[in-house]
């Protein structure tokens, strides 16, 4: 049923329908309304979960690791500095192959202190072994939660997941959204069937140490699972489409890419603005299109190469900065790698950091820069401050 709902509350409704047995989160800044609403559900008896309030994000995710190892479906959510405080536990969760799903309201990292949106937090954890999906709007955000639990818990995958969405832009705004009924979600997402679990009557230890004789093979297996996740996400997205009518059968979405000469590449809510900007540029006769990435890890290299085949230049909009990288942005490097040897020019544009607005005219200006061969730069700096 379609409802007008705040992004965070819509996530809470989705998570409730995923029936997590344990929710563990740090409820104070940086946090969204997601866990506040989940706490209400639990307190009101609408949701049968153990809701753990803890003293930090590090503790929150540590409790998730313990609960998941004990065989529970586990959910958490965080943002910004909270995610970075979890960093050590993130690597342990993926190494122990625990299928935890966590919503990340993407927000800037300090210093300087900022509560506004960019994607530095999740992109900084690119190599933590969690698959990362980025939602353009609240509907995708809701749907990705069902999809992520299904993929993460697949015994051929067993990877934790970030469901990333732009802080404030999606988390605190109201949009029409279809929240599926419980029975529909149950049909799509079966009860959690742990691959293995902590059990006093059949003991195992998890996350053991590995000597140099063993360590590399575990990292290899983690990488292979991430490669398999590409297929699993597409299959789960296809199955979702068949059941709910909204298909996510590809890790990318092409928007007006037919005959495009310049392609924009982006992740997350900025894609909505880019689509409007592309429409205006198309109306003005310019051959511009958008390639939206749903997934950053695993990186959809083949789909990106296929979708961008035939364009002259690519402009990657980056809500992150990798200081010291020649390209500046982390996403552009991957796009460039996908197009290596094709001769297509790929440029990164660091844009909209710390909540700075990105407007349609900014998108058009980036296209101008790319078509003039200028890129791998910050866009929209206030020159008077430098």
């Amino acid at each position: 049923m379609m409802e007008i709902m705040e992004g965070s509350h819509a996530v809470a409704e989705a998570v409730k329908r995923c029936r997590p047995e344990v929710v563990s989160a740090y409820p104070i800044t940086p946090q969204t309304h997601i866990v506040e609403r989940l706490a209400e559900f639990v307190a009101d008896g609408e949701m049968e979960s153990d809701y753990l309030t803890v003293d930090s994000e590090f503790s929150a995710l540590s409790a998730c690791v313990g609960a998941s190892a004990a065989g529970s479906r586990v959910y958490s959510s965080t943002s910004s500095q909270g995610l970075i405080l979890m960093a050590e536990v993130c690597f342990n969760a993926s190494g122990m192959r625990l299928p935890i799903v966590m919503s990340i309201a993407n927000r800037a990292l300090g210093a300087p202190l900022s509560i506004w949106n960019d994607q530095q937090d999740s992109i900084a954890l690119r190599d933590s072994g969690w698959f990362q999906l980025y939602a353009e709007d609240v509907q995708e955000l809701v749907d990705y939660h069902f999809l992520s639990f299904r993929v993460a818990e697949d015994h051929n995958i067993l990877l934790p997941a970030f469901v990333c969405f732009d802080g404030f832009i999606l988390s605190h705004t109201y949009e029409p959204v279809d929240i599926p009924d419980q029975e529909e979600v149950d049909a799509y997402l079966p009860p959690f069937n742990p691959y293995q679990k902590l059990d006093a009557t059949d003991p195992i230890s998890m996350g053991m140490y590995a000597t140099p004789d063993y360590y590399m093979e575990f990292r290899y297996e983690l990488d292979r699972a991430m490669e398999r996740a590409s297929r699993a996400i597409k299959d789960a997205g296809q199955a979702f489409g068949e059941q709910f009518g909204r298909s996510y059968g590809s890790l990318v979405e092409e928007y007006r890419m037919d005959d495009a000469d310049t392609a924009l590449v982006a992740l997350g809510s900025i894609c909505g603005t880019v689509k409007d900007a592309v429409d205006e540029m198309r109306d003005a006769g310019r051959k511009v299109g958008l390639l939206k990435l749903r997934s950053f890890r695993p990186f959809p290299k083949e789909e990106v190469a296929k979708a961008l085949d035939g364009v002259s230049q690519v402009a990657v909009l980056e809500k992150n900065i990798s200081p010291g990288s020649a390209m500046k942005g982390a996403v552009g490097l991957e796009v460039k790698d996908a197009l290596w040897k094709t001769g297509i020019d790929v440029y990164s544009y660091v844009i909209g950091l710390g909540g700075r607005d990105v407007r349609k005219k900014d998108i058009a200006a980036v296209v101008d820069l790319a078509e003039r061969g200028r890129g791998d730069m910050f866009y929209g700096l206030r020159e008077e401050l430098i």
Partner: protein, 85 residues
């Protein structure tokens, strides 16, 4: 393999991790100098020296090559020799 998916292990499997692969120097006993005092058995932090035989015997599958036995041997009967790598 000592470890399963998720670095999980059944009880007691830590002994399957053969820590001897860490070793750079291996202790080698000179039987002629050895007084069979047994100090090396007590000093070994890995507990991998036994006296099953007449003389102390090092279990090279677990010996990390720390060299404490050679350092403490009153008879200077243990030499640390570089492993071929």
């Amino acid at each position: 393999m000592a470890l399963n998916v998720g670095c999980a292990a059944r009880p007691g499997r830590a002994r399957d991790n053969k820590t001897g692969s860490w070793r750079v120097f291996r202790p080698v006993l000179d039987a002629e100098k050895c007084k069979k005092c047994g100090l090396c058995l007590l000093i070994c932090p890995e507990g991998c020296i036994s006296e099953d035989d007449e003389y102390p015997r090092v279990d090279y599958e677990y010996c990390k090559g720390c060299g404490l036995c050679a350092e403490e041997c009153p008879a200077e009967a243990i030499e640390m020799e570089q492993e071929e790598k």
